[in-house]
Symmetry: C2
Subunit: 337 residues, 2 copies
């Protein structure tokens, strides 16, 4: 039995505060949606932020983005006033990272570009700095082949948006040192995130692979006319979604398999699932007809509200859910180490 | 823009109350876990329940089961006192259903047995009664081939346990009448459930297919050593799980694809997902080595607590989540018709 689950630590422990004390300044490379989200979280946690991004209008973009997420940071219980007082911009990469305790890179998903960025960073950044890339598709091993200190680079892949969703997938490359893994895990934990260190590099990491596996069947069921998008979304929120917010898939089957738990489930229903359900799952394609159908149904399902309006409402509900789970301790596998 | 989402209606509307008024008495066929859960919900909603089950110790089993779920019914805000005052048992099937307004069948998943049961029921039950089977695997069409009034039978497949999780998949067979579909939907809605009518029969219906699709990749990732069961569960609860409790997979991508929403997502990331992610998803097997690995990790992940203790803690968190979402209105596709 492990300690109480907390989906997001809104108030870091004393240990976490001590860790945060050693991070005075962060360099955020790439001021897009992910970069801005990280910047907001870092600033709210008391870390000065410098943004490095070649775009000439980057200051306006980042300030607008920060203004948009500030209410969410406040709703999470974080100090969210005057965040931009400690925000600066530096177009020269080496200068931007020269004084940083952590560098979080959110550049385009192009291997050569990331290799160039990290070659520059490792030479210019302080020796103690944490070097993390937000990449969702490129393994640290591939980026680090171009580095002199490949042991320093690690993937810190957030589930979007990082200021709200707790998960950070921490994925060491083949050369990443244990010290770097520990440093990354401690840092993200201190930020209030729920870092999870993967044991192997695998394309898509874990959360996106799972999301993709479920979505394949979603597309199939809608393309087959079994349900509409809206009906499928309703099915998920009122069953598996609310279950998996509280207990993951293994725990859910452990608790649904009678007194014998997961071992009993595996021996009986697991093999039935393999024999009768898995082969029947769909293999759809985003051909023109399917894309047209899904696009039409999206109009029907999501109405005329802008994406921003809908996302704001969703995130409000998300935060209420996170608070509710924080306030309802349960024995769980979910815990900080 | 559709009305406010309510994950579970704890207080039925006046319309729902009027519907419930016409259901005085329910016959539950099969007093296993699902039957007991339905019985508890029906009783708490003011419907008298008669249990039909051939087992000689069925009274003790059902009373023990009801005692176990009563705290959950109370936590959901339902009147849960003296439930068993209106509970009876009748071993003869025809007698059990003779005076019932709704028959909910939860027998073993064997086609011939269900065909026999429903042949008896349709002859003995009142003409106005709703005839619903909880089957998760057998289409109504197959059961109804043995019925004289196949238009009356419908699948009302709950997501386990029905007294707690809102979803009921309502699946008409080829001969099921529109009137029966409307009757089933109105009844489950009045109970406070979130019924979803499927447009086609398909093996496994929707929720279990989706669950199975995700679980296949879960088993693969653990078998490959990318993460442990516990780590995978933590990843899900802290990312996709909490997302899908609030917004389904289509809405989640609609809100994560920038201002262009789902249409933009489909054109760009959707096709990338199809080309690079779907072919890379795993195809694991519950061979002996995998079952042994998963069983060992289950011991590690779930500790020494009994399944009942863990389920109770999980359900408490589940109810807190449901209350939180009820209290946080958002524009959603999720609504009662």
């Amino acid at each position: 039995m492990t300690p109480t689950s907390e989906p997001q630590d809104m108030n870091p422990s004393e240990d976490d505060a001590a860790v945060l004390d050693s991070y005075k300044r962060a360099a955020i490379i790439g001021g897009g949606v992910i970069g801005v989200s990280w910047a907001g979280l870092f600033l709210a946690r008391g870390i000065d932020v410098v943004i490095n991004d070649p775009r000439t209008d980057i200051e306006d973009l980042v300030r607008a983005g920060l203004a948009e997420i500030t209410p969410t940071l406040a709703a999470l219980g974080l100090p969210a006033e005057n965040l931009t007082d400690r925000l600066t911009f530096e177009a020269d990469l080496a200068t931007a990272v020269a004084d940083a305790d952590v560098i979080q890179e959110n550049g385009p998903e192009r291997l050569e570009l990331k290799q160039q960025i990290w070659q520059t960073v490792e030479q210019a950044a302080p020796a103690h700095a944490l070097l993390a890339t937000s990449t969702s598709t490129i393994p640290a091993t591939a980026i680090a082949t171009a580095m002199r200190q490949p042991e320093r680079l690690i993937v810190g892949h957030p589930f979007n948006p990082p200021h709200l969703v707790p998960l950070v997938e921490v994925v060491p490359g083949e050369s990443t040192s244990e010290a770097t893994v520990r440093q990354a895990k401690a840092f993200y934990t201190a930020l209030g995130k729920r870092p999870q260190v993967l044991r192997k590099e695998i394309p898509g990491f874990v959360a996106n692979r799972l999301q993709s596996a479920l979505f394949r069947e979603c597309v199939f069921l809608v393309a087959q006319g079994v349900v509409t998008e809206q009906e499928l979304d309703d099915i998920v929120t009122s069953s598996i979604g609310m279950r998996w917010a509280v207990a993951g898939p293994f725990r859910t089957f452990h608790l649904g398999g009678g007194p014998g738990g997961l071992p009993h489930f595996l021996e009986h229903l697991g093999r039935t699932m393999e024999a009768s359900m898995w082969p029947a799952l769909g293999n759809p394609s985003f051909d023109d007809a399917t894309v047209a159908l899904l696009t039409d149904q999206a109009r029907e399902a999501f109405g005329t509200g802008t994406v921003d309006e809908l996302a704001t409402a969703r995130d409000r509900a998300q935060i209420a859910l996170m608070h509710a789970l924080n306030e309802t301790p349960q024995p769980s596998s979910a815990h900080h180490p």
